[in-house]
Each structure stands twice: as C-alpha cells, then as structure tokens.
C-alpha cells in the first residue's frame, strides 16, 4: 500500500480553478461547500503564486485528534476519512485544521452546522464501495475504481499532483532541479512533518 499525498507545484498553477470545478462536479458537492480551493498569494504583485488546497490527509491528523466523538479514521493508503453518521457538527476539526479543509453545509447559526464535509481524496467513506448512500454522503469512490483524485488527474498544467508520496516528491524534485526554482511543497511540512528536500 502506498502512502498517498497531494502536492501542488505552485510554479505551474495558473489559477484556472479546474480542480475546484472538477471536484464539485464529480462529487455533486452542494452549493456553498468547496472541498478544494485555489488561493493566490501576493496577488497582482511580482512573484505571485497560486496554490490549490484541500484536505492534505495529514500524518497524525489534528482533526482526528480533537474530534469529540472520534469519527475520523485513516485508510491503508493513509487517506483521512470520517463518518457522517458519527459526526455531531461541533466544528472542533475546523478549529484544529491548519488548511481550512472541514466544510459545513449550513451557514449555521445556533451551532447547527450540519455534518462536516471535506475532501475524501476521492476515496468515498465508511459505507459500502460504489453504493448510493456512499455517493450521497461522501461522493465518488475513484480510489476503489483504481483511479486517482479527479482534481489532480485533470489539472491542465500538471501542477496538482496526487499519488504515492515518494513518487510525486520525486517528480517535483526533478522539476525543480531542471528549471532551477520552486516555491516549495505547500503544506507538506505542516501536514507530513517533512518537506521535499532539493
């Protein structure tokens, strides 16, 4: 089993938001929820970079640590998933997550946020693979189909990489060596306590 990760090569991201759109469409995510987003740093200034960000599927995930009902689990591929049946919508994972990944369906006053939703690495959830209930709660299970997350698969500049952590780190490293620059493996140090050494 691989330890899967995301890596956004910000020097290639053109902020087309295709990853955001692909994700919303693939999983039929409701209005107001964005499992993935593109943030532009230093917008309009020299040296501007855009980063596509979603749940990073952290090693020793903070969301899982603080969840009062322990609804998170990590798959054999190191994907961090959660059970919407157990989730009470308290918002603790949102306080702890460094990447703003947890989303809530209601702009809920009265603490009625509803069940938390986040990027599943296109790996579905605890329900039976390919079942309707799995799709409705968590979205498509592409990993079970032998496919990678759609956001990365359809990235036009191959900025967003998904797959085995070591493999995508090697690809990124080769790119940086060849072109002579790189703004870093965004979020890696925070999520995986390691970065891609160049």
């Amino acid at each position: 089993m691989a330890r899967v990760k995301f890596l956004c090569d910000a020097d290639r991201c053109i902020e087309c938001n295709a990853c955001v759109t692909a994700c919303k469409n693939e999983h039929e995510v409701p209005w107001g929820i964005n499992r993935r987003r593109v943030v532009t740093i230093n917008d309009g200034k020299p040296g501007e970079r855009s980063v596509s960000m979603a749940c990073m599927h952290c090693t020793d995930a903070p969301c899982a640590a603080v969840c009062p009902v322990s609804c998170f689990y990590t798959t054999a591929d190191a994907v961090v998933l959660h059970s919407k049946d157990l989730c009470i919508g308290c918002g603790y994972c949102f306080y702890a997550c460094p990447f703003g990944a947890p989303q809530y369906p209601k702009v809920g006053n009265f603490g009625s946020r509803g069940k938390m939703d986040k990027c599943t690495y296109c790996a579905g959830g605890p329900e039976e693979d390919f079942s309707t209930v799995e799709f409705e709660k968590y979205g498509r299970n592409r990993l079970a189909e032998g496919k990678l997350p759609l956001c990365a698969e359809m990235c036009s500049t191959k900025s967003l990489l998904a797959g085995d952590g070591e493999m995508i780190a090697t690809i990124y490293k080769e790119r940086v060596m060849k072109r002579g620059y790189g703004s870093g493996a965004w979020g890696w140090k925070t999520a995986y306590k390691e970065t891609v050494a160049i």
Binding site: I88, G91, G100, G108, T190
Partner: protein, 333 residues
C-alpha cells in the same frame, strides 16, 4: 498636415517611452521565478496567531486563509492543557470537599432546630435559582462530555451510542444556554443589592466564615462573604460564558473567523472548569455539608435557629420589619 501628424506621433511616442522607462527598469531587475514567494519563508515570517492567506475567486471569503498554524496550538490546548487543567481543578475540588467533610463533618445547627421557620427565599427567588441550576447541571455535563467524554465514556458505550448521546448533549447545550442566561440575569436583578461587599465581609473572611471552628458564627446580613463570592462568580462567570458561548453558537459572527473562535473555545473551556468546581463547593455546602441550609432553596423556609446562627443581622432586620406592621390590624372600613 501629414508632416504635422507625423511629428505629433513622434512626440507622443517619446513621451510614452520616457514614461515607461522607470517602470520597465524596475521589472527588468525582478526575477519572477527565483524571487517568487516561498512557502517556507512565508511560514517563518508569520507571527503567533497569524495566518498565511491570499486572494480567492470563490464567494467564500473565509477560504482565502491557506494555512493557519494556530490550529496546532489549539490542538495542543484541547488535547493536553485542558485535560490537565480540568483534572487538577475538578479532582482537586472533589478531594478538598471530601477532606473537609471528613475533618469538619456536617455543619450542625448548634442550638438545635427550633421548629419555628422564617421565609428566606420567595418563590421567584427559588424559580430563578433552580432554572439556572437545572440548566447549569445539563450544560456542565454535556460540556464535560464533549471535552472529556471521548476518553471516559466512549469506551463504555461504543462509538454509535456515544455519538448519539453527544449529539443530544450538544443540542441541549445549545438551547439550554438561553434559559441559563435568563436565570443569571434574573438572579442579578433579584440579589445584587444584598451582594455589595462591605466591611462586615472582611471580618467574616478573617474568621473563616466560622466554618472551621465549631461554635463560632461571624455576623452576616442577608448574604455572608462566602455567598457573595458565589454570587459574583455566577454573575461574572455566567457573563463571560455567555459572551464566549454566543460566538460559538453563531460562528459566522466571529470577527476574525477561526482565530477568534479558537480563543473563544479556550476561554469558554477554562472558565467552565473553574465554574463547575466552584458550583461543586456551592452545592456541597448547600446540601450535605450544612444542616438546615437546603431548606432555603427547598421550600424557602429556614429554621429560625439556623438563620440566627448564620445570618443574625438579617434575622434582626426581618423581625424588626415584621414588628413594625401591627399584627391584628383591622382593615379600614
């Protein structure tokens, strides 16, 4: 005409070129690839509580925050600091109460029960107290459960039952917050005039409230210094719990998004632990710890001897008031 036009174009071109030169020079010096933003440098530049954020094109402005390292400190607070604080404060208070009971035993009415009673709390007083207390017990239990239940209760019930229980607890916590706030406000209005600290309280505190020595009863008015402390803990504690809780109930009103919510949960949790500890002591001395004390909030009638021992000045005042009203006064015809 043509020559004039040509010279005008030339003049304009020179004007443009000269205007563009400094700007062009500025960009020529900049190396867009090598000098682009570096994640590592940006993270190093962040100060405590800062977030790495940029611009976002989706309507959700909060999503512009890219990385918030503060989440890790919040996790540390929630997973390590809070259980330590909670354990020390709550178990410490329970231990202290047990120890007090073993050493001092139940505080008795020294002169025995007289059989005569005096009205201490009217029904409105008792309504305010029990509405607040009832809500407080459920708020405290559901709050403790959401903070520590995963360690203590989850293994007993299993994940499904525990999640259902915690969800009900969360709903109760959210809704009972409102009668609790109303109760605190009502108690403030009813009792504040008798809870202003004065010189008598210093003497009461000096004598340790007479709690530690048998047969010693420092003078007190309607509320003694200990009760005043409880009153102000409930009022100020209740106010801070309400304000911080309000932000957690309406998370999208928080001025600074996740950063202020983290602060609010921290304030709410630490204060809650202290609040629960204080109320444990209050509940102890108002029931098991002291003979005759519970009646005050039970049926509102306390034994006269109890009242004389603990609130001598208040009893004198009440009796004077009663005496000033003629007993068998005949209504005017």
């Amino acid at each position: 005409m043509k020559a004039q036009f040509k010279s005008l174009v030339a003049a304009l071109a020179i004007l443009f070129a000269s205007a563009m030169l400094p700007a062009a020079a500025q960009y020529n010096n900049f190396q867009p690839t090598k000098e682009a933003v570096q994640e590592e440098k940006l993270l190093q530049q962040l100060k405590e509580g800062d977030r790495l954020s940029g611009r976002i094109s989706i309507p959700d402005a909060k999503a512009a925050s890219l990385i918030q390292p503060q989440g890790q400190s919040w996790r540390d607070f929630h997973q390590n600091k809070l259980p330590t604080i909670g354990g020390v404060v709550l178990l410490g208070m329970l231990g202290a109460l047990v120890l007090f009971f073993l050493v001092r035993g139940r505080v008795r009415v020294e002169h025995g029960l007289s059989g005569q009673t005096i009205t201490r709390f009217a029904s409105l007083d008792r309504f305010a107290h029990w509405m607040t207390a009832g809500c407080f017990i459920i708020l405290a239990l559901s709050g403790l459960n959401v903070s520590f239940g995963r360690m203590v209760i989850l293994p007993l019930f299993g994940p499904e039952t525990f999640a259902e229980l915690t969800h009900l607890g969360k709903l109760a916590h959210n809704y009972l917050a409102f009668p609790f706030m109303a109760g605190v406000a009502l108690m403030f209005v009813l009792w504040v005039k008798d809870n202003i600290p004065n010189k008598l309280d210093l003497e009461w505190i000096k004598q340790g409230g007479g709690l530690f020595v048998k047969g010693k009863h420092p003078l007190a008015e309607r509320f003694n210094a200990g009760q005043k402390v409880v009153f102000w803990i409930v009022i100020t504690g209740g106010a801070v719990m309400s304000v911080s809780g309000w932000f957690l109930l309406f998370p999208y009103m928080a001025p600074d998004g996740v950063t202020s919510l983290q602060l609010m949960t921290t304030v709410h949790a630490v204060l809650a632990v202290g609040f629960v500890a204080a109320m444990l002591a209050h509940a102890y001395i108002g029931s098991v710890g002291m003979e005759g004390a519970f009646d005050a909030m039970g049926n509102g009638e306390v034994d006269l001897n109890w009242a004389k021992e603990h609130h001598a000045l208040w009893v004198a005042e009440e009796q004077a008031k009663a005496a000033s009203v003629p007993r068998n006064s005949v209504p005017a015809e």
